[in-house]
């Protein structure tokens, strides 16, 4: 008879220990790049942070030793992501509602779901080239070529699949009983969605939107083709129709410059970009936790 006590030397126990440590080891390797990248950027970029950075325009490379600030790029990123959100949130949430609530699994909805999945896998540069061909080279937007508006449109293409998918999946998680309850007391489909299903799925939809924004804000390739870059302050509404700077493109441009001052600016911009994406992600977690709590009162 075997003893009931735990025996370290038993081959199954040795194997068990070994694989536990092995998986732990790989898990550590997996998060290593994240830790390394974030720490490196925080150290290199964090050192460059000063108040001028947020208020000044960047100086053209080579002019003098002072590189200036990243104010236009910072505001540009905000403006372009806002435009992207304005386009993709209504379209995406609306599309998601159609898929989850109205479509009955017919060929059209299958086609749309497939299309959304394909769109999610499209390289971001394709979105840029598409908007370039559609808007920039045709000068269809009141004769303007490269513009913040075009940049926003390119990013909205990248946000769209995330928003549609999370809305669709968030709504599908709402128990059918809740829909039946509402329809069973004579609510119309429209009232049911607006007052019952959407509020219930709000948490996952909001999280999806926030993650979509975070992804779009860091994209470079689509903006190179659409918004290009600008050294100058954004002063008014009319600037939407001209080249607009953004943090991502600023990093791309200045990191490749041979001058140290510009390189430092690129590090600072990287720091701010990573930090804001991190904050947005943490915010979405808090949002999720918060709505979860209120739902279970």
């Amino acid at each position: 008879m075997n003893s009931l006590y735990y025996q370290k030397k038993l081959s199954r126990n040795v194997g068990d220990k070994f694989f536990t440590f092995l998986s732990l080891f790989f898990a550590l390797i997996a998060i290593l790049p994240l830790i390394y990248v974030v720490t490196y950027i925080f150290i290199k970029g964090g050192a460059q942070i000063n108040s001028d950075l947020f208020t000044l325009e960047p100086n053209p490379p080579g002019d003098d030793l002072d590189a200036g600030g990243i104010n236009p790029a910072l505001i540009g990123t905000l403006v372009i992501t806002t435009i992207a959100s304005i386009i993709s949130i209504p379209v995406g949430v609306g599309g998601g509602i159609y898929l989850a609530e109205y479509s009955k699994g017919g060929p059209f909805s299958k086609f749309v779901r497939f299309g959304v999945n394909v769109l999610a896998g499209v390289p971001s540069i394709i979105a840029g080239v598409f908007i370039y061909a559609l808007i920039v080279s045709t000068k269809i937007l009141f004769g303007s070529m490269y513009s913040g508006l075009a940049g926003g449109m390119a990013l909205s293409i990248l946000m769209l699949p995330t928003v549609i998918k999370t809305t669709d999946e968030g709504l599908k998680l709402v128990p059918n009983e809740l829909r039946y309850a509402s329809l069973g007391i004579g609510a119309s489909m429209y009232t049911t969605i607006l007052k019952i299903t959407l509020p219930t799925a709000f948490r996952s939809i909001a999280t999806g939107i926030v993650l979509g924004i975070a992804r779009a804000a860091g994209e470079t390739a689509p903006l190179i083709f659409t918004a290009l870059f600008s050294y100058y302050y954004i002063t008014g509404f009319g600037d939407l129709f001209y080249e607009m700077g953004s943090l991502a493109v600023l990093i791309y441009n200045f990191a490749l410059e041979p001058y140290d001052a510009q390189n430092k600016l690129a590090w600072a911009a990287s720091f701010i970009l990573v930090l804001s994406i991190l904050i947005v992600n943490i915010f979405s977690r808090i949002l999720a936790a918060f709505t979860e709590k209120t739902k279970r009162v």
């Binding site: 009955k104 699994g105 128990p175 059918n176 009983e177 809740l178 829909r179 039946y180 309850a181 509402s182 329809l183 069973g184 007391i185 004579g186 609510a187 119309s188 009232t191 007052k195 019952i196 509020p199 219930t200 739902k295 279970r296 009162v297």
Partner: protein, 269 residues
């Protein structure tokens, strides 16, 4: 005898005429003829898979929400075939309310749970009063009155179910359908809901699906027994049919059909 003549005088509020319901190509229940009388509690009983819940859901067009579900025949409510193309299912559901198997309050406050249905139905009177009277009628007022602003989920299962009944009452339907309303509840909550049903009977017609034969016996005036038979081609599939419909007393004391006798005595089901 006297009671029988009284029964005859009650008017038919809802009639099924040769109703067959299929899910895709699978026929769930066929050739049902059934008359529901106003002011009665009618219970639908039968073994699993006999189509009694399907029939219940057909009465206020909840089956519309299930893909591929189709209905042949006519369901007459108030002289109108509710499956007529011109009929608006939303309007049907406003007049024929439903209480479901699982308590399903909205993720809102108790007050809002009641007010929601009334508001979308264009109720303009005193909402506080309506909430109170609905909760009273559903016999859950005393448990709720101090926490109307708490979430509906803060109540126990039985209280939630009575909240759902109150929510249905608040839209003042003519008929209340209940799909196994007590199957998720403990015996004491069940008893309370049955008491509630006796109260509601004064103002509403109630149709209830139940697995619990004792419950059918306790609450209902009329009982419809559904059964399922195998298809004639014998591929193992079953189709439901209405085996017997009579006053509850007769169904339980002197059923005409042998299968009814066997079912109520617990020989199968």
């Amino acid at each position: 005898m006297i009671k029988n003549t009284k029964n005859l005088q009650k008017k038919n509020i809802l009639s099924l005429e040769d109703v067959s319901i299929s899910y895709g190509t699978f026929e769930a229940v066929k050739n049902v003829f059934l008359n529901f009388k106003a002011g009665d509690i009618t219970s639908l009983i039968g073994p699993s898979g006999c189509g009694k819940s399907t029939v219940l859901r057909a009465l206020n067009r909840m089956n519309d929400l299930i893909p591929n579900c189709s209905l042949k025949g006519t369901v007459l409510f108030d002289g109108t075939n509710i499956y007529d193309k011109r009929v608006d299912p939303v309007e049907v559901r406003r007049r024929i309310g439903m209480v479901f198997q699982q308590p399903n309050p909205f993720p809102k406050s108790i007050y809002e749970n009641i007010a929601f249905g009334a508001r979308i139905n264009g109720f303009t009177g005193d909402m506080d009063q309506l909430v109170e009277s609905s909760l009273r009628k559903a016999a859950v007022w005393s448990e709720c009155k101090d926490k109307l602003n708490d979430s509906g989920y803060s109540l126990s299962g039985g209280q939630q179910q009575r909240l759902c009944i109150a929510r249905t009452i608040a839209i003042e339907p003519e008929i209340i359908l209940m799909d196994e309303p007590c199957s998720a509840l403990d015996p004491i909550s069940t008893l309370k809901i049955e008491e509630t049903m006796h109260e509601l009977k004064k103002n509403y017609t109630i149709i209830i699906v139940t697995h619990n034969m004792q419950q059918a016996l306790r609450v209902s005036d009329m009982t419809a027994f559904f059964n399922a038979i195998e298809y004639e081609d014998g591929d193992g599939g079953k189709v439901g049919y209405l085996a017997e419909f009579n006053s509850t007393k007769k169904i339980f004391n002197s059923p005409k059909e042998k299968t009814t006798q066997e079912y109520i005595s617990g020989k199968f089901g």
